[in-house]
């Protein structure tokens, strides 16, 4: 049975992506007890799957290393992975949280020696690569995964593969009988940092994501360009492995659209500008990049980055909402149809690869919130007195870039501290 020591001066953080990690670490480094609950088997969330950050083009794993070191060193922080909050009852200063722990089938003392992974053979779609690669049934989700412990896929439980994994472990860390458990503990305040999910590109029917192999999403494109990703960083297209040099980016794919997400997801313009550099870096002056956009929202200092990309002759900008994509059967090329609104030119342009800049939607559906909370029309949490001691952090509150999400999460840490300090009667 998993034991969590917590009181009504403890802060519960739900979600271990960059916002949740930040909120948890900032509170813990201010001397507060924190329990961090993460659904995945590891921390880091979606940023761990990004190749680079805009506008510096630096690597998310660099910040992740620092944050993970902070987490490993901090005695105030308890981390629960493969865990989901199913209920929160009570009020500010006195909550009881119920958390469901899915079985990892690997105990805490796993050394990540890798023997179980070597012993098994069956492979499954790798969620870390959005299914663009395969992983084994006993696996470390990625090389920097924290906690650094293997995971056994439930699909090999009860099979010979499961037994192989168990037999391979010298340390008796594989427990095939591990059961789901549900635990309860106290918390004074809750930080809700469940982040976002990419909008389901299948719903944007005219773009043929479900039919055309060389139409992919922006999050998949990150994995494709990452040297640790499915192609080892080689920019090739899914249908035939051919080099993808003529690449089109479609902005607002499923965003700012009455049929899909009404809101602007904020990050997609900058993410695309960043991704154009992956293409131009890979192919130099043989790269041929087109960005189809409504407005380029490179706000504040990001303007510099936009100017840099605009200055690259290999990248052109077309003000147009693409009407439809049709696959050229012979070549596998997606052909984009629409009208360039600057000058009213009709186009039918073929590309090697099309990247849909899909929007952000909240990870938790409005009807699945385990606690009373005020949501806006798009399902993001709005700060409100009726939320009591529950505070949103990061993309649970709005479509935010990493910098703003971290800023917001740091603020959320203070709001939670205000509650637990009231409980403790702390005077400054």
């Amino acid at each position: 049975m998993t034991e969590v020591i917590a009181t009504n001066e403890t802060i519960l953080v739900v979600g271990g992506g960059i916002s949740g990690m930040t909120a948890a670490l900032e509170a813990a480094e201010t001397g507060k007890r924190v329990v961090l609950v993460e659904k995945r088997p590891y921390l880091g969330g979606r940023v761990s799957q990004l190749y680079r950050y805009f506008p510096k083009l630096c690597f998310p794993t660099c910040g992740l290393e620092i944050n993970q070191r902070r987490a490993k060193m901090n005695p105030n922080l308890t981390i629960l992975t493969m865990a989901e909050v199913t209920d929160i009852s009570g009020q500010a200063g006195d909550y009881t949280a119920t958390v469901k722990l899915a079985p990892r089938f690997v105990k805490d003392h796993c050394t990540a020696c890798g023997a179980c992974g070597e012993a098994v053979t069956q492979k499954f779609d790798n969620e870390f690569d959005y299914g663009l690669s395969k992983r084994k049934g006993a696996y470390l989700p990625h090389r920097m995964a924290h906690p650094q412990r293997y995971v056994i896929d439930p699909r090999i439980i009860g099979t010979e593969e499961g037994e192989k994994a168990k037999a391979a472990c010298k340390y008796n860390a594989v427990d095939l009988d591990m059961q789901e458990e549900s635990i309860q503990f106290k918390a004074g305040a809750v930080i809700w940092a469940t982040g976002w999910q990419p909008y389901d590109a299948n719903k944007i029917q005219p773009y043929g994501y479900d039919r055309i192999k060389n139409v992919i999403t922006s999050v998949e494109f990150e994995r494709l360009c990452d040297p640790t990703g499915p192609t080892g960083g080689k920019l090739v297209r899914p249908s035939d492995g051919r080099e993808a040099k003529r690449v089109a980016f479609i902005q607002c794919a499923g965003s700012r659209d009455r049929n899909h997400l009404l809101h602007c997801s904020r990050i997609c313009c900058m993410a695309t500008l960043k991704q154009t550099t992956y293409v131009t870096e890979a192919w130099g002056n043989t790269a041929d990049v087109s960005v189809y956009y409504i407005d380029i929202r490179a706000i504040d200092r990001f303007e510099d980055f936009y100017a840099k990309v605009q200055a690259n002759p290999q990248v052109k900008f077309i003000k147009s909402k693409v009407a439809s994509i049709v696959e050229d059967r012979g070549t596998g090329n997606p052909v984009l149809h629409g009208v360039d609104t600057e000058g009213y030119r009709r186009y039918a342009d073929a590309h090697d690869l099309v990247v849909l800049a899909v929007g952000m939607q909240p990870s938790v559906d409005a009807d699945r919130f385990p606690v009373q909370i005020r949501l806006n029309s798009e399902g993001f949490i709005e700060a409100a007195p009726e939320n009591g001691g529950v505070f949103a952090a990061g993309c649970a509150s709005d479509a935010l870039d990493v910098n703003r999400a971290v800023q917001h999460a740091t603020a959320a840490a203070l709001r939670a501290i205000q509650v637990v300090n009231r409980v403790a009667g702390v005077e400054g």
Binding site: C62, K72, C113, D300, E303, Q407
Partner: protein, 732 residues
């Protein structure tokens, strides 16, 4: 600590026992002065950890050497804060970095043996950090600036129980927001402009016993460090008092861009061309009545908003950046007219309409629904007259055209209200700006600028990674932002200030080495007053006294060790990271005789990027030369040239330094550490030639954490190079 007692623990798990002769390693540890040496089949298990704990408690062991996995693994298990500890990386660093097989056995075993010697030598030179006695816990915070950002920071800190002083140079709280009629909506459905809330905040502050407000007051001196900032607060009347603060939030906001620089847009030529902020004042003064134009008092029937006025432009005198808030501000202002007079023609001329997020896009839609016209057009000029003529290029129809209107509103941008940049290149500042903080720091009076005068952090994942510990910028002085973001930012900065004050009281470092209790110790007798440490400290933590000796300020220090690397006479060290802890590791690497034909390559790798990259390379089965010996360093800035010359004199055949990217997109979290190391190394060539060594034997590389393939390749290429140019002539 009375008596040092050393113990070594060797894990034989994860294949270490199968791949290495651990009995030999045990003997080496014993020879390396570990009083007790134990092997364990799974040292990180509860049983293994309990064994170590029991030795600490019962055997009074004070220094432990753990030979197991990488220092990045099993950190929670190997957590013994009461003793000094070093770790020999036998798993990732040796067996996973080397191919299995008999022919490789000798080299691999030698590697492991050296790592044991190194870890033993390291721990022998370490002491667990002890408090310096400098720690002061002062919880009162100083907020500089009484606009919406500063007021929010004060209210949010006070709500957490902290006392706050707001210093405002003008005679009233509220800043620019107080001049506004209304603000962009913050609550769903994001359709109508909202009350600014400023009046309510001012009342809340006046009623809050934890908040002190000093109006007409400026800061004439800030000295000290987090936990003990002594600040001279001078009022307009000339009186000065000194107060002590734990930490500081700088919320000095922005100055409106000077629209007088936009004569082509009619500003200054017609009274009916005004800025957005001027419109706010105009509307506020109407008190809900009709909005009349300044020239003749006629009710405005048509208004054009010119977006990006003097912004997003490379023209001299214009702002190159986007101020971020103006698109939604213009929609809000268009709605002022529509609310008063639905028939008023309101046109927003824009090149990109930037209304991000849920609230932004909803508000844009609300503007469209209320018949605000949005035209993609590039404004070329405004011709003054009874009716104003706006000349613009319609970007949709691709033609030059004009429109007539009663009033033109220029959406001008924000200029950060920051102090002078301590690192501004000489001659780059044409108009000197007055200092805000008047820091008594060796390295300038104010927060360093990042770009365009904004004092932002350079790090995407760490927006509050300040370059002056305990002083956090918030709001538009940090980067251009709207009121909503400024309020979030203020709250985040308040948390960081609280944290800085609390941790300064405990002697703990701030980010990124949060919690580190070590701090630089300085042996004054040996100091030659060369000032390198005071000049090179990336955080301005070291002052100079009247005799030009360095004065260290513990709680300003981020523990990177750049001062230690700078010091030519080796008088600066940390208790657990010093000239000795690294120097002794290098000395204790066994140097084979020249006739053995076994080169030795010393690799000093940044612990945050290069070292993890090497660990991950090992996890991926990428092999490295058995001749390499890797020492993690806090930052390349901490690398002492003495280590390099000593190692070459000892017969090392090659030395590699691996640090972070150093240019203007630097990734070094100690800002200049990697750059400084490169500069220092550029001067090593002469030394090498003086020693009759080839310059290629010493190399410095920028290595990112993603360089999983490249980092080992750099090492292996050095081994190949040595194969070509031969062993060092300095071997015995």
């Amino acid at each position: 600590m009375s008596e040092k007692k050393f113990a070594g623990y060797i894990c034989t798990g994860c294949g270490i026992g199968e791949r290495l002769k651990t009995g030999q390693l045990e003997n080496i540890a014993k020879k390396s002065k570990m009083g007790v040496v134990k092997q364990h089949p799974m040292l990180c298990s509860q049983e293994g950890v309990t064994m170590i704990h029991s030795d600490i408690t019962n055997e009074k062991v004070t220094h432990i050497m753990i030979a197991a996995c990488s220092r990045r693994a099993k950190v929670e298990a190997f957590n013994f804060p009461e003793v000094a500890m070093s770790r020999a990386n036998l798993r990732e660093g040796v067996i996973w970095s080397r191919p299995d097989g008999k022919e490789h056995q000798e080299g691999t075993q030698e590697m492991a043996a050296d790592y044991i010697r190194m870890a033993c030598a390291e721990v022998r030179s370490m002491t667990p950090p002890q408090p310096s006695g400098e720690q002061v816990l002062v919880k009162r915070l100083l907020v500089v600036g009484g606009g919406i950002t500063g007021m929010t920071a004060a209210l949010e800190s006070a709500a957490a129980g902290y006392a706050v002083t707001i210093v405002e140079k003008s005679g009233a709280l509220g800043g620019h927001a107080a001049e506004m009629s209304r603000r962009v909506p913050t609550r769903s459905p994001y359709a109508e402009p909202e009350d600014t809330g400023i009046a309510g905040m001012i009342v809340a502050i006046s009623q809050n016993s934890r908040i002190e407000v000093l109006l007409n007051t400026t800061i004439t001196r800030t000295s000290g460090a987090p936990g003990r900032f002594a600040v001279d607060l001078s009022s307009e009347s000339g009186s000065t008092c000194t107060e002590t603060f734990g930490a500081i939030v700088q919320a000095t906001g922005f100055r409106p861009y000077d629209a007088a620089q936009l004569p082509e847009l009619g500003y200054g030529k017609s009274p009916d061309v005004i800025t957005g902020l001027e419109l706010e004042r105009l509307v506020k003064a109407t008190n809900g009545g009709p909005i009349k134009r300044p020239s003749d008092g006629r009710v405005v029937q048509s208004v054009a908003f010119v977006q990006c006025a003097g912004q997003r432009s490379g023209k001299p005198g214009h702002l190159p950046y986007c101020s971020g808030f103006c698109c939604t501000a213009s929609i809000k202002q268009a709605l002022y007219f529509k609310t008063q007079n639905p028939g008023c023609d309101t046109t927003v001329l824009f090149s990109d309409l930037r209304t991000p997020g849920v609230s932004g896009e909803d508000f844009y839609r609300a503007g469209q629904e209320k018949q605000v016209t949005f035209s993609k057009g590039q404004v070329a000029g405004v011709i003054p007259g009874q009716t104003l003529t706006v000349k613009f290029k319609d970007l949709i129809l691709n033609e030059d055209t004009t429109m007539a209107c009663d009033l033109v509103v220029l959406a001008t941008g924000m200029v950060p209200n920051s102090g002078p940049d301590p690192y501004a290149a000489e001659g780059s500042v044409s108009v000197p700006v007055p200092s805000i903080l008047n820091l008594e720091y060796r390295q300038g009076t104010d927060l360093p600028h990042l770009k365009y005068g904004f004092v932002d952090s350079h790090f995407i994942c760490f927006p509050y990674e300040t370059r002056r510990t305990g002083i956090y910028a918030a709001g538009p002085v940090r980067r251009p932002m709207d009121m909503k973001q400024a309020q979030d930012d203020a709250t985040g900065a308040a948390l960081k200030a609280i944290q800085a004050a609390e941790n300064a009281g405990k002697g703990m470092a701030a980010h990124p080495r949060s919690g580190d209790l070590s701090f630089p110790k300085f042996r004054k007798e040996g100091c030659t007053q060369c000032k390198r440490c005071t000049v090179e400290c990336p955080f301005g933590a070291i002052n100079e006294d009247e005799n030009r000796y360095p004065v260290f300020n513990e709680s300003r220090c981020r523990r990177c060790g750049t001062c230690m690397g700078a010091c030519p006479v080796r008088v600066i060290s940390f208790e657990n990271y010093s000239i000795e802890t690294v120097g002794q590791q290098i000395k204790n690497i066994e140097m084979p005789d020249a006739d053995e034909e076994k080169p030795r390559i010393l690799v000093m790798a940044c612990e945050n990027d290069a070292y993890p990259a090497l660990d991950m390379a090992a996890m991926s089965g990428i092999h490295i030369s058995p001749y390499a010996r890797i020492v993690p360093v806090r930052c390349l800035g901490s690398v002492s040239l003495n280590w390099i010359t000593d190692s070459l004199n000892a017969g090392f055949d090659g030395v590699i330094l691996m640090g972070c990217r150093k240019d203007e997109e630097y990734q070094c979290h100690y800002v200049r550490g990697s750059a400084i190391a490169h500069e220092r190394l550029s001067k090593v060539g002469d030394t090498l030639q003086g020693m009759s060594l080839e310059v290629e034997r010493v190399a410095v590389h920028e290595v990112a954490i993603t360089d999983i393939g490249r980092a080992p390749r750099i090492i292996n290429e050095m081994a190949d190079l040595i194969g070509k140019i031969g062993l060092s002539p300095l071997k015995f």
